[in-house]
Symmetry: C2
Subunit: 342 residues, 2 copies
């Protein structure tokens, strides 16, 4: 086992000055680009010395001098169990870098003590502000520890609206998902919604109703079946969906759609010939890989992270309501067929 | 939109001293727990002032004084597209915190420029060392930028072995997966391996062969079918698997198993009654949620992150080969049935 011990031999500005045969303040002017008049030759000697010795300006010292750091903090509650948190982190990091910030990421597993300690660590590192994110869209109680920091909520919101929040536009997403079925001529469209109370449940239902209205259809509560929001829930609901005589189903998420596919197959039925299906989430490793590939609506996790950073840095403003709603774009694939073909 | 401006009004040690009516050095002794003799009453006054003003010791300043930081860096190549990177980050962060370190996470999307810039940022923040990780187990060429840092590779390795690597034990994993089928009496066990050259392909095949040997069976190359390592690959291979007369199949990963399930259903066949199946990865959102739930072997991403930190901090050593191999534990569910029941 080999280890490079380089990190312990820190090259200082003094070393560079000695190597270049100039004063430390000359090195400092060159490194920090202060605009001081330094002769071309001295400037080049400093640059050569920097290259030769592998000198790196100390970001920590710079942060101390300027009084605030180039850090943004991101607190996530479930980085390990879904790809969703990873996508939020990805978007936030890209946007943070674009503005010269480094993202400090902390995972809390939803544990309050871990959360308080993560936030405290971030404040000790003088973060410019903190993104507080959840892996599914929900209401949160703002942790007390965040009181000392600029905060933006990502994929969650505080009902008091005391800090801005960036959330998915569930209503529009539900509307677009339903419209994908209606515009293919389907008129008996069931909705397998989640039974868990959540903004996703309420918002997608409102979107479903709005789309029916657009097409002049009457909302029938019997066509909304509440299920456990995963494969098992979709699998168990097949009988009920068939009994409704639906020709198309909007599933609360892609996992429910996957269970529905399995249940239909077990009865010798096929998507989309026997039933058109649309999901929600555009979940990696599932949606594009079902047989047939699932038409769905994407949860914009990456965009949530990006907008979160922009609101935190004041580049973008949340609405008066304190919530910025991000569009959920439709992703058509091959699980919907025109109703006339049946 | 409300914003707390607190982060910009930094409370200093001087403010605390003024509030408490003591000297700055008294505050410093209390805050840094130096062991200096400070009267009980003064100590309490300082604590009350700290609480009242919301003073936080400056971690950046402490890092400067001690010369190295309490940061570890983690470079990941695909944080957004699979839950695997999230699990490595989770494990690494938990272990880093346990030893008083904060993890700086950077995502590179496999882009070399982003990678060099992430590593450079980490070195500027004087990280104690860097974990360089990939989302699937593979050989890597060590980025030049890492030369200035203690480095441990996680889920990847450099063939020269110049830095330690923490990787999954593919051979043992393949062995255990195959044994799960053999120990239920199956003797015609096919292997849907990936066609992509990789340590997973080689290692799992060696494990499969070793398990056959354990049971006194002759290895038959015709029973190994190379496929695209996803649902589409498994789905397309159903005909070939059935033609082999296999009673059980070891799938290179859970996604291949998912495709195989779908293909079998489309022919009116069922897992496990018509075919016993074992996967690999224990992939979130898939393995536990197939119908029936999939028996598999877990890729220990969380553990890879933990061991990576331990090797980096010198708490644990990689083997002479420079590689620490982490066990892939079997996860039995309901996709295997005894061969005698058929």
């Amino acid at each position: 086992m080999t280890k490079n011990e380089g990190v312990h031999r820190t090259v200082t500005m003094r070393d560079v000055a000695r190597e270049a045969g100039v004063s430390v303040s000359t090195v400092s002017h060159v490194v920090n680009n202060t605009g001081a008049r330094i002769g071309q030759e001295a400037r080049e000697r400093v640059r050569r010395a920097i290259d030769k010795l592998g000198y790196r300006p100390n970001a920590l010292a710079k942060n101390l001098v300027t009084g605030s750091s180039r850090f943004l903090g991101l607190v996530a509650d479930a980085i390990a169990s879904t790809p969703f948190a990873g996508q939020i982190i990805h978007g936030a990091q890209e946007e943070a870098w674009r503005h010269g910030y480094v993202l400090l990421v902390a995972n809390t597993d939803g544990n309050e003590a871990a959360e308080a300690s993560a936030i405290s660590m971030m404040l000790e590192h003088k973060v410019r502000g903190i993104l507080y994110s959840t892996w599914y869209h929900r209401e949160v109680k703002l942790p007390a520890a965040l009181a000392g920091s600029d905060t933006v909520l990502v994929n969650c919101y505080s009902p008091q609206g005391e800090v801005p929040a960036v959330v998915p536009d569930e209503v529009n997403g539900g509307h677009d998902a339903t419209r994908m079925l209606l515009s293919e001529g389907h008129r008996r469209v069931a909705f397998l919604n989640t039974r868990a109370l959540s903004p996703a449940r309420e918002g997608r239902l409102r979107g479903y109703r709005r789309a029916l209205e657009d097409f002049g259809l009457v909302f029938d509560p019997a066509k909304v079946v509440d299920v456990q929001p995963d494969q098992e829930g979709g699998y168990a609901a097949v009988g009920e969906i068939l009994a409704l005589g639906a020709t198309a189903v909007f599933c609360h998420n892609d996992r429910v759609a996957m269970g529905l596919y399995d249940g239909l197959r077990d009865r010798g039925l096929r998507v989309p010939d026997d039933l058109s299906v649309v999901g929600f989430d555009n979940q990696e490793v599932i949606a594009a890989h079902l047989q047939p590939p699932l038409s769905t609506v994407a949860l914009p996790h990456d965009e949530l992270g990006r907008h979160g950073v922009r609101v935190l840095l004041g580049i973008e403003e949340a609405e008066q309501t304190g919530r910025l709603e991000v569009n959920c774009p439709p992703v058509p694939r091959r699980s919907i067929v025109a109703a006339t073909r049946r």
